[in-house]
């Protein structure tokens, strides 16, 4: 899968949860949950959706590696590779 499609998939799932946030206004390297104003339930739903989409476990111990848009896209790429 190309780099582009991980970013696209993540953007799609985030848009489902936070349709009011424009990707252009987001700092891709800043705190994901602050940038998208998502709470712990939103984040859990995001992880659930991404886990199903890519067939990944997304363990809670790895949450620290998912703390920005870029980090999370990179995580998906590394784990799917």
């Amino acid at each position: 899968m190309t780099q582009d499609s991980f970013e696209t998939a993540l953007a799609e799932e985030l848009h489902r949860i936070a349709p009011d946030i424009e990707l252009d206004d987001v700092d891709m390297s800043a705190d994901l949950r602050e940038e998208f104003d998502i709470d712990s339930m939103d984040f859990l739903n995001l992880v659930t959706a991404l886990g199903k989409r890519f067939g990944l476990e997304m363990p809670e111990a790895d949450y620290a590696q998912m703390d920005s848009f870029d980090a999370l896209a990179g995580y998906l790429r590394a784990k799917s590779g």
Binding site: H15, R16, A18, D39, S40, M41, L44, E60
Partner: protein, 401 residues
Amino acid sequence: MSLFLMPSLGADMEAGTLVEQTMKPGDEVKRGDVIGAVETQKGVIEIEVFEDGILDSWLVEIGQTVPVGAPMAQILKPGETAAPAPAAPAPAPEPEPVPEPVVAAPTPAAPPPPAPAPATKAEPGTRARITPAARRLAAEKGIDLSQLPHDPNHVIGRAEVTAMADGVAVPVAAPTPKPSAESDMRSAIAAAMSRSKREIPHYYLSQTLDLTAVDAFLKSANADRAPDDRLLHGAIYGRAVAKALKKYPEFNGHNVDGQFTPNPSVHLGVAINIRSVGLVAPALFDAQDQSLDDLMAALRDLVGRVREGRFRARELSDATITLSSLGDRGVDQLYGVIYPPQVAIIGIGTPRLQPVVQDGAVTARLATTLTLSADHRVSDGHRGALFLRAIDKNLQKPEAL
């Protein structure tokens, strides 16, 4: 024979508009059945009957706005025969311009032909407003909701979904000037909170809450769980509050006309933020009897439905206490405003590593501030303090929750 009345779906509700009749005259109804849907400031809410019987007749038409307490339907007990219907209810004190259920626009916007591309879900922010029963029907019939016209001033009902299923174009209701969902909810919050601050003499208590044990428990419990089964802090807090209330019933119930009635069940209202719209605090029922996993599943279901604008009437009217927790992107502490006719609200701030004295030495511990705002007409600070400490104690042994 009995009358089904417009329910009060919260202290701030004066009237509601019937937008759907899911049952028709002659249908058998059972306690808990959804017989229709009512539109309020908080969105479209399903209404349930409280007894078994047969729906004899509707007294309110779709689109009609009636005040809380007005008769909406007549229900016969099993074996009873029909009695003459009472006079039609008076209109609401301040009737809003009510759109006709279905008004054909001059140029009916036919839905575009289904695209050959795989069906994608409608985007939450732009999808059509639809009653819960109509949404279910659409799912049964396999109708893609994104094909429905997006008119923010019109609520789609079952009849229109049936028409769509039959291949009939859905006419878009003529837009009527109406406040947005956002300003509706803002005024609902304003009414309830103004009443609270006017009528309820609040007192406030706070206590430092060490969350080290909760954090360790969650880490270990979630380590082997798939995302679907993971626990969140909210479920743990909910259990800790519900368990503490057993000994402190004066914080759990309703205070109506100066008379406080404790409730043996804990219907735990949880403050839920709805993006760009506002805040609601619907109830998790019987939190005192639920396991952590059950309460977490109920919380997940509730938050999901609330964010889609789907409530049940009882969830809004029957909460007996409220829990407001800021999660991990908030501030140090919050003091809630009591939601009438409740008598208490628990606040839990954002967990942070902070200096705490333990065994005579300052150490860094994960902690936050636990608060209570309570009604001084019903309880005193002494009992309030004991109640807060009981919650704190429960949270030091999360495995026992």
